[in-house]
């Protein structure tokens, strides 16, 4: 399988990337690690006329502490997130989830920003940033704007990022409650999660239970009202719209959500 023809351009810096995007408008797509986009292009499900390779924009690959929050550059690879000492201390949920994305080869290439902008509700990290109450910083021709993770994911493969804009940074507040857990069920390592759960304190977010990653609000409300983990987890599928596919029916996914949320809440409680 070979992608349809396109013109390849390479940006050496953030400014150059934005300039190149301004030239080609809607016809261009940014290429980060390429592990979501290139498979779609090989299947001809994505047919961009221009690819702007931002994989060498090193200024967007970092994890650092910044004024009370953790700042993660959008082009930081899963492997670098998983191996970050700062994340291991301050945001172990993000480090652990990144270390379970795909397989080592995928983690050497794929980036957090690429995953978020791709907007696949079956991907792991969108639900993780949702559970962490992250703020996403997007740069465009007229400057930067900040978008809460709750407003970032619009629909299947659709996010708040507009043509010509680039996600540059993920800002994550240091969690108030230390308990966390990440759970998912896959058949093979490389597969998308059939269902996944990210928990940080009283925040619970679900992978692959709708058109976007979703917060399990009914579970969060039950926890806030003092329910035990088992009782709270019984609400896991409320308000979701789970897809049905070869890996499972909507009903199976709803059951799986309740099981995985129960496990996640128990593990999180044991860590707090």
């Amino acid at each position: 399988m070979i992608p349809a023809p396109f013109t390849y351009k390479r940006a050496g810096s953030l400014d150059e990337a934005l300039d190149l995007a301004a030239q080609d408008g809607d016809e261009a797509k940014f290429l980060a690690g390429g592990h979501s986009l290139l498979p779609l292009m090989k299947l001809r499900l994505a047919v961009p006329e221009v690819l702007i390779d931002i994989g060498r924009v090193r200024e967007l690959s970092y994890v650092r502490e910044d004024d009370g929050h953790i700042a993660v550059g959008a082009l930081t690879s899963y492997g670098d997130l998983a191996g970050s000492d700062l994340l291991a201390t301050e945001l172990p949920l993000l480090a652990a989830a990144a270390g379970q994305v795909g397989d080592p080869q995928v983690r050497h290439c794929g980036t957090i920003g690429g995953s978020l902008v791709h907007g696949d509700p079956a991907a792991d990290l969108p639900a993780v940033v949702l559970a962490l109450d992250a703020t996403l910083v997007v740069r465009g021709p007229s400057g930067s704007r900040e978008i809460g993770a709750g407003e970032f994911f619009h629909s299947l493969f659709e996010t708040a990022v507009q043509p010509g804009e680039l996600l540059t940074e993920i800002r994550i507040p240091k969690p108030q409650a230390p308990g966390w857990s990440f759970q998912k069920l896959t058949k093979r390592a490389i597969d998308w999660a059939i269902v996944g759960v990210a928990v940080q304190g009283g925040n619970v977010a679900l992978v692959n239970m709708g058109q976007t990653p979703v917060r399990a609000s009914a579970v969060e409300q039950a926890l806030a009202a003092g329910a035990g983990t088992r009782d709270a987890a019984a609400h896991a599928a409320e308000g979701t719209s789970a897809p049905g596919d070869i890996n499972g029916s909507p009903g199976y996914r709803e059951h799986l959500a309740r099981v995985l949320v129960a496990r996640a809440l128990a593990e999180s409680a044991a860590r707090s």
Partner: protein
């Protein structure tokens, strides 16, 4: 576009289509056919090579992305024509292959794994090779081979 890629220590220069995948560049432009195309969907790992020393699936990397960088395939592992790399010796000694189709990718993934974790446990080896499928299901001997290679410096079987 013109790409210049250092492959197994030698500079390779070629005019390629922008959409050329790294695996096709290696196999069809350079004739390095040890790297296999298996699933073509970045699932099976048969096309694994090292890009700047780290394992990647070359069916999901553009040749253009490797421009100016270093690629190592299984053809470039051995130190000389009459010698094998310790990982190759370990696969030989432990019978770490049956049909051999996954072997070049397995070996490269294993080399990358030991670079990041020189003394892995058996579980760590299995997790570290989770991106490589063996259609003969010969995993046990592959894992033994990687463990043997990891202890090669300490007088192990390799």
């Amino acid at each position: 576009m013109k790409v210049i890629i250092t492959v197994n220590g030698s500079q390779a220069e070629a005019e390629v289509e922008d959409r050329t995948l790294l695996v096709h560049f290696l196999r069809e432009v350079l004739g390095l056919t040890a790297t296999n195309v298996g699933c073509d969907t970045s699932s099976c790992g048969a096309c694994t090579v090292l890009l700047d020393g780290r394992s990647v699936k070359s069916c999901t990397v553009l040749a253009a992305q490797a421009d100016g960088r270093e690629v190592t395939t299984v053809e470039g592992l051995a130190p000389g024509p009459d010698e094998l790399h310790p990982m190759q010796r370990a696969f030989h000694a432990e019978h770490g292959l049956q049909c051999g189709f996954c072997t070049p990718g397995m070996v490269m993934a294993a080399v990358s794994l030991l670079k990041e974790n020189p003394s892995p446990t058996e579980d760590e080896v299995r997790l570290g090779l989770e991106g490589n499928l063996c259609r003969c299901t010969g995993y046990h001997n592959i894992v033994r081979a990687v463990l043997a290679a990891s202890t090669a410096d300490e007088g192990g079987p390799a």
